[in-house]
Symmetry: D2
C-alpha cells in the first residue's frame, strides 16, 4: 500500500501538515461495538504533547481531538472513524531563510526533489506533528488490545550516553523522559542540560515490551510480525534502526547462547529465555515481544550549520526558535502506537489461519 | 498486503517449501521490453547456492531456474513472470524427533501454534530455501536497476566478532564469506573453525550500499523508503535488526555531529557527509544508500539442546546432519535482492509524484 | 484493499455518516503541483446537492467543502488532501420506528447483521450522503484528467420507461434530470409526477462517455480497466448493473456484428465501430469509453410496506418525510466521479508498463 | 492491488500464456487444515476443458494440474499453494498474419499499445487459457465454501437468442451448454449450428446463484460484496455486463415493486421477495445471491474481417483454425470460480467486524 495508509484489515490513513488547518486520521476496519470516546484518544495525544517540561519545545498546542464519524452512542459502528486535531498556532510569520534553504538533517531537500516544491512552514508534512494521526489511531488500537489482555510497557531506554540499569514501570510516568529508572532520568537531565548549553541536541533509544500477545500472529513471509513492526517503527521520523529481541547483539552470540530452549511450566510450553524477543520465524511465540528503536538527535539546532539555498548558494544557517533538544521522550507513545496498530492488524489477519477455527466461527453465527 | 506478496507496483509472490516439489516466484508489474533470460537469474541464485565452501551445508542442490511465463523472444512482455526451481533432494527419510519436537531458534513451535500442524521436512516454508523466490525476483529487479545506472555493493561486514577494516569491492567474490577485506576473511575462517569444533554457530552483519539512486524515491509517511527497506530486510529469516546509515550509533551522536551539511559540488547540491545513509524524511537524497542487517547464528547446532515435544514432554534434542555454521555469507545476495525489489517499486511509484512530469509523460505518447 | 479506500496509486478514503458531525475524504497520491482550490471541488458537489428541483429531497444542505491539508499556496503538495463537509442538519429528532425496524430496500437489516447495531439516523453510513467524499475526490481526479485532455460526458439515459433518443451535450445542464434530450426530460417530468402521485419512486440509467483516454490503460488480468470501472460504479448505492459498450446487448449479437474492425484514418489506426466501448482485453483502445449504470428506484416511499422490527415483530411501515422520488439525476456526478478516480489510477499505474519509457523518464530527471 | 492478484486475505495470483511453457496460480491465505488433492482441482478444470462437444474448439489439451506447494499429507498447510498446468501444445507453427495484424474483437492492438509488443501465439496472456489459474483457485475456494454449507448453481441462462424457461439443476451437466433446461439446450444447438454454418459466433448469459451465504458479508463502501463481485466477473475476458438480482430490469420498476419486504418465517427474519439478489447496501442479506454476466460472441470467426497491420496497412483478415463458436458454456465454471474467490475473501474479512466476536475468538484459543 505505502504512502499514507498503514495496515491491511485494520487500517489508518493519516493527513495533515504542521501549520495547515488541521491534522487527522481515518481509522478503518475497527470492529463494531468497541466503547470509544474522545477522552480515550486525548490521553494518548497528551503523552506526545509539547510543553510539558523544559526539555520539550515551548510551542503551545492543546491538540484537542474531535471524533467526526464512526462512533454512535459511545460505541464504534464498524464504519470509518475520522479524527481531527485543529492547528491553533497557524499565525502568519516570517519563515526567513527556512523557506529557501535546506536545513541539515531535515527533509527539506528531499521534499523539493520529489515534489518540486514544499510547504516550508514548520516542516509541513515532515514535521513531528504528523504523528498526531498515528497516536490517535494507536489509542484506538490499544483499546482493542486492552480488551484482549494485551499490554504495552514503553519507555526511554537511553538518552544520549545515559542508559537505564533496571525497569521500574511505576517510574515511567514520573519523569520528563519516560525512563523506568529514576537515577538514569536524573543523569539524563544533566546530560541534556549540557547539550542545550552547547546549542546541541541528543538521541536515544525507545524500547517497547508487549505482553499477552497470543502465539500465532504474523504472516510469513512478507507479512511476518517482525517485518511489519520494522516498517511501522522505521516509518517514524528520526528512527534509524529497529531491533527485535537481542537485536544487533545477536551478531556476536553463538547458536548455543542465542537459541531459546523450550520447557514445560504449569502444563504449558514456554521458553527458557527470550533472546528472540517473542517472535520466531516471523510469528509471535506467546512470550513478551521486545522491540527497540534508535532515534537520532533533533536536527534543529541553533548552532550555525553549513548548507545551501534551493537556488544553489552556499550559506551558514542558524535555526531560530526553541526546539526539543531531544525527540526520544515524545517518541515513546509514537513507537507504542505503531506497534499497537501492527498487532491489531496481525490479530485480525490471523483469524482465518485455520480451517477448523473458520468453521467454528461461522457455525456459531 | 502482507503474506507472500511484496511490493505495490512491481510485486513478487513467493511459494514453496524446503522439501516440496519445487519453489518459485511470480513477478508482476515488470515493464515490457526488458531483455531477460534464465542465465540472468541463475547467476544470482548461484550466489546463495549451498556447497560452495566448507562453511556451507553439504546439501547438494543445483537450483536450476526455469522461466515459465512472461518472457517472449528474449524480452519481458509485461505479463507475470513465473519462475520455478525444482527440489531435487526430496527423498523420503526419517525425520526422527524433528517431526514431533520443537527445535530451539526455529519456527517449528510458532508454525504449529498458528496453523495447527506443519510440514516438518527441512523446515518446510520456514527453511532458508524460501529465499530462492526472493533472489530470483531480485535478479530481475537488479537488471532493471542496472539499466538505470543503479548499482549494489553488498558484503559481510562482520562474522561473529571479526569485522572488516576496509572495503575492497574486488575482494568480495574472492573469499567464502563475501567479505571486502581479505585479512578479515582469513580471521573469520579461523573464528568459524573454532565455532564448528565446539559444535556451535555464529552470526554477523550484512551491509548493502546502493549507488545511483535518484533523489526523490520513497512515499511518506508509511511507504517511506527506509520503512519499506526495513520491512523487506526484516522479513528475511534470521534478521534481528535493520539499520540505515549510522543506525544504532546515532543514539550517542549530537545534532551537530549527526546532521549532514549541504554544499555545492560541480554545480550540484550534495552533502558534506552521509550519516543519514542516503535517506532523509523517508525519501532518497541522491547519495549512497547504506543499510545493515544483523543476522543471528544458525539455530541448527549439533549440541544437545533443551526442548519439548509437541505432546508436551521435555527432552534433549540433538540435530543431526550438517548445517551451515553461519547464515551470513549466503544471506548477502538475499539482502541485496530485497533491497533491489524495494528500490524498483519505489522508482515506479515515484513516476506520478509530480503533475508536470505526468503531463510530459503522456504528452509524448 | 476494500472497505473505505479505493485505488492503488491515486487513492481516496471516504468517511462519514448522514447525521454525524461531518463527511469527508482523504485523497492520497495526488501529484504535486496541481492547481487546486475549494471552488474546484464545490462545483462538483453542487451537482449532487439536494433541493435543486421538485424532484429532489427538500432537505437543505449547503455542503460547503473545506480543504484541510495537502494544498499550499494554491497548489497540491503531493501529501494527502483532506477534505470535509460539515453536516448542518444534525438536530435531534424522533426517528420513530426507523430506529427499530428494517426499511425495505435499505441496508438497515444487513448493517445490523454485520455490525450488531447501526447508526439509524438517516441511514448513517449507507446514506447517499456518503457519496460526498467520492464526488470531492472525483473533482480532483477530473481536474488532473482535464489537464491531460480527458473529458467526461455523463447524463441520465433513461428515467423509468422514458429514454433519450439523441445526445445534445448542451441540454444536459438545462433540465432537472441531466438528460441530453429536452423532449425526453419533459416526458420524464410527467412520468415522475405520476410516480409521486402514487407515493412511488422510479429508477433509470446513467451513461458516462469518456473521450481522450490514451490507449494502454488497464492492468490485466484483475486490474483490467473494465473490471475496476465495474467495481467503482457497482460500489455506488442503488446501482444493480454495470455495462461496458454494448453491454447486455452483446448477448444477442454475432461475432460479425459485435467485432469492431480496424482502419486507417489520417495516418492513425482507428476502429470502424465501437461496440466494445473503448476497452479491449481490459485495456483502453483510444476510442471513447462508454459505461452504463442501472439504478434502482428510491427505496424510501411513503406507501405502507411490509417489514419486521429488529425484535422480530411483523409490522406495516410508512416512511415519513420527503425523499427524492428518483436517485438517477443526483447519481450522474457520482458515476462520473468514480470513473474519473478509476482512470487516474490506471494512468499512473501505466507509467511503468514499458522499460523504454521508464528509462526515458529517469534519464530526463 | 490490480494486475494479476485478486483478493485481500485469500488471494490468487495467476500467470501464464496460451502457448508458453505452462499456466498456473499461487493461492495465498488458504486456511491450514483443509483437505485438498489434485483431483479436487482437476474436476473443476475439466469443466472448462475444450474438446468436449462439437461446439468447442478441437484443440486437444489434457490440462493436468500439479500441486507444487502448500499441501502436506493431504492437507493445506497455510502456506502458498502453487498450482501449474503444463501446455502440451506448444509446437512451433506459422502464425501468419496473426503476428503482425490486429484481430478485431481481440486484445492484440491494446497489448501492442500498452507494452510495445506482444506474445502473439494464440493470444498469449489474453487467451481464454488464462482462466485456468482462476478455475484452479476457484476450486479451492469452492471446497472451503462447501465445508461451510455454501453452494453454487451456475449455468447458461441464454445462448444467443435462446433463453431458458425454467431451472432444472439436474439438467445442467447433461448438455453441452450447461443449460438447466433440456428444451432450451436443444434449441441452442440448432441456433449455434446455424451460426457456425455462417462462419459466425454467438454470445449469451451466464447466471450464478449462491445459497447458504451468511448475512453480513461485504465491506462498505468500496469493498461492498456486489462491487467486488462486479470486478471479479468483469475481469473475465468477453464479459461486457454484470448484473446483481434484477439487474438492468430495476430501471423500469418502481420502489413499490422493487423493494423486498421483510417477514418472519420459522422464527427467523426473511424477505418476501429477492429483487435485490441477496445483497443490500453491499452486504449479503442471507438470501440467495444472484449474479449474471453478459458474454460477447467469440471474436475469432473465419469470415473475412477488415483490419490493419501493426505497420498501418489496411487488410482483410481470415482467421484459420477451429475456434469455439461460443464462449458461454466454458465460461460457466469461470464465473462460478470468480464468485467463489470473492465470497471466501469476504468471509475472512468479516471475521473481525464485531468486537464481541473478536473477543470470543481469542478467548477460546
Amino acid at each position: 500500500m505505502g504512502k499514507s495508509t498503514f495496515g491491511n484489515t485494520f487500517t489508518v490513513t493519516t493527513w495533515g501538515e504542521s501549520h495547515g488547518k488541521a491534522l487527522g486520521a481515518v481509522i478503518d476496519g475497527c470492529p463494531a461495538g468497541l466503547s470509544l470516546c474522545e477522552e480515550d484518544i486525548q490521553k494518548y495525544l497528551n503523552r506526545r504533547k509539547p510543553g510539558q517540561s523544559r526539555f520539550t519545545t515551548a510551542r503551545k498546542e492543546d491538540d484537542l481531538v474531535e471524533i467526526l464519524s464512526g462512533v454512535f452512542e459511545g460505541r464504534t459502528t464498524g464504519t470509518p472513524i475520522s479524527i481531527m486535531v485543529r492547528n491553533t498556532d497557524q499565525r502568519s510569520r516570517d519563515y526567513g531563510n527556512i523557506a529557501t534553504s535546506y536545513r541539515p538533517g531535515h527533509a527539506d531537500y528531499t521534499f523539493d526533489q520529489k515534489y518540486g516544491f514544499r510547504d516550508y512552514r514548520g516542516g509541513g508534512r515532515s514535521s513531528a506533528r504528523e504523528t498526531i494521526g498515528r497516536v490517535a489511531a494507536g489509542a484506538i488500537a490499544s483499546k482493542i488490545l486492552g480488551e484482549l489482555g494485551i499490554r504495552f510497557c514503553t519507555y526511554s531506554k537511553s538518552i544520549g550516553s545515559v542508559s537505564i540499569s533496571h525497569i521500574d514501570p511505576e517510574e515511567i510516568n514520573r519523569n520528563a523522559f519516560y525512563m523506568p529508572d529514576a537515577e538514569a532520568a536524573s543523569k539524563a537531565a544533566a546530560y541534556l542540560e549540557d547539550c542545550m548549553s552547547r546549542k546541541d541536541s541528543a538521541g536515544g533509544v525507545v524500547e517497547c515490551r508487549i505482553t499477552g500477545v497470543p502465539a500465532g500472529l504474523g504472516d510469513p513471509v512478507f507479512g511476518k510480525l517482525d517485518a511489519i513492526l520494522a516498517q511501522a517503527v522505521m516509518s517514524i521520523g528520526a528512527v534509524k534502526a529497529v531491533e527485535i529481541g537481542d537485536g544487533t547483539a545477536v551478531t556476536s552470540l553463538n547458536g548455543s547462547t542465542d537459541n531459546d530452549g523450550f520447557c514445560m511450566k504449569d502444563g504449558n510450553i514456554t521458553k527458557t529465555s527470550n533472546h528472540a524477543g517473542g517472535i520466531m520465524g516471523g510469528i509471535s511465540d506467546g512470550s513478551e515481544i521486545i522491540l527497540r528503536a534508535s532515534i537520532k538527535p533533533t536536527p534543529s539546532i541553533s548552532q550555525p550549520q553549513q548548507t545551501v539555498s534551493s537556488a544553489g548558494e552556499e550559506l551558514s544557517l542558524e535555526i531560530h526558535g526553541r526546539h526539543d533538544p531531544i525527540i526520544v521522550p515524545r517518541a515513546v507513545v509514537v513507537v507504542e502506537s505503531m506497534c499497537a496498530l501492527t498487532i491489531v492488524d496481525a490479530l485480525f489477519s490471523n483469524m482465518s489461519a485455520r480451517m477448523d477455527r473458520v468453521k467454528e466461527f461461522y457455525s456459531e453465527l
